[in-house]
Symmetry: C2
Subunit: 225 residues, 2 copies
Amino acid sequence: MSHKDYPRPSVTTDVIIFTLRGGDLQVLLVRRKNPPFQGVWAIPGGFVGMDESLEEAALRELEEETRVRDVYLEQLYTFGDPHRDPRGRTITVAYIALVPATAIHPHAGDDAAAARWWSVYSLPPLAFDHADILSYALQRLRYKLEYTAVVFELLPDTFALSELRAAFEVILGEELDKRNFRRKILSAHVIEETGTYRAGEGRPAKLYRFRDDAVAEVKARRLFP
Amino acid sequence: MSHKDYPRPSVTTDVIIFTLRGGDLQVLLVRRKNPPFQGVWAIPGGFVGMDESLEEAALRELEEETRVRDVYLEQLYTFGDPHRDPRGRTITVAYIALVPATAIHPHAGDDAAAARWWSVYSLPPLAFDHADILSYALQRLRYKLEYTAVVFELLPDTFALSELRAAFEVILGEELDKRNFRRKILSAHVIEETGTYRAGEGRPAKLYRFRDDAVAEVKARRLFP
C-alpha cells in the first residue's frame, strides 16, 4: 500500500493542567457541550491542526483554557486504544502543564459548557479514558517532584520551608515528617536561603528560594514553539 | 466542525531496538526500499493498523524485524513536526526495545532492502528525523541505566562485575572508575552474589545476578497486549 492508502486515525492533544490552589492540588477540567459524553467533565483538548506541531497544539489548547503561555509543558504519553473514542479511532498525545498559583480564570472554549478547577482528590466522573490519563499524569508529577525541582513552577519565588513541605504533601497525597523533609531538601542543594524572614504569628519564618541552576534545569524542559 | 471533518495525519510507530553485541551498543536499522529516502537507513517502523493499539503495532514491528516478542518495550516519545515526512503529515509514536545479546538474526520486512545492526557510535546517515529520534532514545536509555535495573534486559543471567561495568561503559559511552563503580552498584542493592565463580585466566571471577525485586520492577514495565 502507498502512504495515502492507509486509513488514518484522528489525532488530538489533551492537556492536564495542574495548579496549587487553596492548599490543594487542582486540575482544570471542562464540561463537554456535545456528544459523546455530553455534559460530562473532561481533560481539555482538541484536534491537532495539519500545520501545527504537537507542542503548538498543546500550547494553543492551554492558552485557550487559561490565557497563560509561558509555563511548564511536558509531553506525558500517547494513548491509542482502538476503542477509546466511540466516534472512531482517535489517538491522543497527552501533555502536563504546571501553572503557578496566581489568579487564573479558566475559560470555557467553544466546545465546552463550563471550565473549572477540581481537586485531584475529589474528581467527578470523567469522559473517555480521561480518568486513566489523569491518574498517569499525577503519577508522573509525583515522580518528577521527587527527582527534580519542578515544584518551583507551582510556588511563589520565595517561601518558608513549611510552605514547601505543604506543597510536597498535597502533591504526594501524604504527610511528611517535618525533620526528615528539612534534612532531605537541604541536603539536595536545590534551595537556598534568601536572607530574609517573613514576620507572622510566632517565630519569623526564614525564607528560601530555588537555586538558579535547579530552576534552569527545569526551565530547559519548558516547551515553546 | 464535527469529528470526521478534520483532516487526519498518518500515524506510525517506530521501534528503536537496542542490543549489546561484541562489546558494543548496537541498534537495528533497515535500509529503505522505496522513496522517499530510498536506499537510506532508517529506524524500523510502519503504519498503525486501525484495529491495533499503539503497543500492538510496535510489538508487531519488533517481531517482524527480530522474531522476538517477550522483551522490554517502552514508549519513548511522540514526534509530530508537520514537515518531518515529505509525503504528508505523519506523526510517529516511538518505542524503545531492549533485546538480549543472544543470536538474533535481523530480518528485512517487505518494505526494507536490508536490515542489520549498527554501532550507535558509528551510524550511517538516517532518513527523516530518525537521527534526532535515535539520539533521544539513547539519552533515555542512559538515564534509565542510572536509575533502574533495566540493564539486566541486555545481560546474561549471571555475570562478573567487570562484565556489568563493561555494559555500563559501552551504553554510557565513557570509562568508569573500577572501584567507584563497584562501590556504587553494590550499595544500590540491585545485584547479589550467586555463590559461584567463573574460572578463566588469572583469578576466578565472582558471579552476580540481578535481585528478583529489581528485575520484577523492570519487568512490570514490559508491555504485552
